[in-house]
Amino acid sequence: MSIKAIPFAIIAAVFMQASIGCKDNNPGEPVGSPFAREDMLKEMAENVIMPSYSKLLSDVQQLEADFEMFKSSPNQQEFIAVRTSFIAAYVSWQSCSPFEVGPAAEESLRLMLNTFPLDTSQLKANMESGSYDLFSAQNSDAKGFPALDFLLFRNDSLEQFTQEKALLYFEQNLDLISEKLNTVISKWNDGYDQEFASNSGTSVGSSLGLMVNELNFDFELLKNAKVAIPLGLKTLGVAQPELVEAVYSDKSKELLLANLIGIKNLFIGAEGQGIDDYLDNLDAKYGNENLSQAIINRFDNCETKISALNSSLKSEIENNPSAVEALHTELQNLVVLLKTDMPSQLGVQITYQDNDGD
């Protein structure tokens, strides 16, 4: 963000001038000098969202290519290649997970691609019967990346993976991921990019409003589904390490870190303008420091705590829970700023609610 500090200051100054004498300011808008929210949104799409989708797409294509290779010569070497490119794609997905707005929301991308924990009995029943609809409600937790994780890593033999039914289920889930992703990307390229940038207010349904909500929603998923629940914080202290993400490949730590960095990257707008710059423009403070800096510091604290974990989150929960608890405390510290301070400074309302439909 510092790289862009100078051009940003210029833009801000220009707009400050332009706004003098302008009487029809929307009274619902937050105070502070006017800021080109449209430019910020445009840059967020260009510098964060589209590159993340492109990276995921190329990783998924690599996985498809490796899978084709494996089918033609199902040996250990090709099996390892498929596993490796699967992990790469799953890691790339983590940066895309926070952008559940517009096309991704229409396609329910997050639910389709990464609902966990996996319902293994449902998956096995599907695989056995060979007749299933991946879009039906009962299969909502039997597909996507978690299904691929299971098929590739449930044990170390490639024999099970090579069974016809397993290969078919793998391929159909890979197709699902690829189709959904391609749909989302083409919708962005076919006009949603314009719509995203021009929907530049702060009310419910504005691009900033949606983005701030989804950033928070994804962060709470990270905190709860990926950490608090397996750690037992939602079950009176009884740990459930088997509920971590990617439990079969045991890559949950790597995915967690990628998810956190992805959310942070959305906040800072990668190399361009992000929400942090906008907060600075509004002169948003947290105590004596800039709110943006306070948020970045807390992101960094979370990152440090994740990096300090040993490579398996599952085994850390089993054997070294205090390290994971320390991480959870840092995540809690960050959620307060992200969910309360940031939206109120931005004039954005948090509208999502935890609703179990009861």
Partner: protein, 361 residues
């Protein structure tokens, strides 16, 4: 007794109002009229009723089979527990989208399912239940029960574990906890109230009492029934009911300190009702020590209710103490001694300050 504890809170709220102006005092006085029954606007806990109905029919399936010494099928219980096809795989007399299994305390789902397998297994034998042999036990008045080789009555373990791991856990640890209480209290959904009101009502729904409780003690179910049975010595009906009504009224008036105080009272009084029930059953076990048929039954209840204490996030007993009490009873109900049972009872009555009523319970 709770009446007297919550009363000062009510006064405090009124006093706060006094400092500003007269009108506000009147408004606040009005606000803090807590109704004598659960008569609030937009109360809906049909999802909880559906789950109580589901457990009712599971218990009824098990009891009918035991009475006839028929085989119990694990698969049937599984379908009912997870409500396959919205009517428990055809085993429920009604249709509902609700499940027991998805509301069960996660780490204990497998334990419940293991009970299903175990009860199927022991129901197939036509043995007579004795120490070391699972089977049926029939007393002179024609009561038939099914015990495992240690005298554990699986039907009790299933019913009461679900009461604990679903109803008690959901009410005290889920619906009254931060995640479900720090929610919207502005937007009223017709028939359901605000999200916060609805969550509160859902907790109330798991108690198994009607909205007329405690004025009426008709049609009490599960926890409501046990609460009423200890009412003479504990005034548990009034305490629990008042805590729930106080909390709902506080939410309606956006007085969150009072709501939080009511949460503490709900958890505390529900737990006391559970402990009094345990002590009652331990007393019964001592009184019937030589009668395998009765002792095993009441000890099974005592044991599973002790396990249930765990599900309350504000429980007074520690996990270690909980294990100690269970260890005193031991795993084999044929081999318990009066001394061990009394020791278990006394540990509980000391922790919960019930020494004065422990013999009368």
């Amino acid at each position: 007794m709770l009446v007297s504890k919550l009363f000062p809170l009510t006064c405090m709220a009124l006093l706060l109002g006094v400092s500003s102006c007269k009108d506000e005092v009147q408004i606040r006085e009005k606000k803090f009229t807590v109704p004598s029954t659960y008569s609030f606007d937009n109360v809906d806990y049909s999802g909880q009723i559906a789950r109580l109905d589901q457990l009712d029919e599971m218990v009824s399936y098990i009891e009918t089979a035991i009475k006839a010494k028929d085989q119990i099928e694990s698969e049937v219980l599984m379908e009912m527990f997870s409500n396959a096809n919205e009517n428990g795989g055809g085993n429920f007399s009604f249709s509902s989208s609700k499940q027991l299994s998805d509301k069960c305390f996660g780490p204990h789902v497998q334990k419940v399912e293991a009970y299903f397998d175990q009860i199927e297994l022991i129901s197939t034998s036509q043995n007579e239940a004795v120490n070391g042999v699972a089977g049926f036990s029939e007393n002179t008045s024609g009561s038939i029960r099914l015990y495992d080789e240690n005298g554990v009555e699986l039907s009790e373990m299933i019913e009461k574990t679900i009461m604990g791991a679903v109803f008690y856990y959901q009410a005290t640890a889920v619906y009254l906890d931060n995640d479900k209480m720090n929610v919207d209290n502005e937007t009223v959904v017709e028939g359901q109230g605000t999200a916060m009101q609805h969550h509160w009502d859902e907790a109330y729904g798991y108690l198994g009492v009607s909205n007329d409780f405690p004025a009426s003690t008709e049609s009490l179910r599960f926890w409501g029934k046990y609460c009423d049975r200890r009412n003479d010595l504990l005034s548990s009906n009034a305490s629990l009911s008042e805590a729930f009504r106080m909390g709902r009224a506080a939410i309606d008036n956006k007085e969150y300190d009072l709501r939080d105080a009511a949460i503490v009272e709900v958890r505390k009084n529900w737990e006391k009702g559970c402990v009094a029930t345990i002590i009652h059953h331990l007393n019964e076990a001592v009184d019937n020590l030589g009668d395998d048929h009765t002792r095993n039954h009441v000890l099974s209840e005592a044991y599973v209710f002790i396990e249930s204490l765990f599900y309350n996030p504000d429980k007074i007993i520690s996990n270690n103490e909980l294990d100690e009490v269970l260890t005193k009873i031991g795993a084999n109900f044929y081999e318990v001694s009066a001394q061990d049972l009394q020791s278990a009872r006394d540990q509980l009555s000391t922790i919960y300050e019930m020494d004065n009523i422990k013999s009368a319970l």
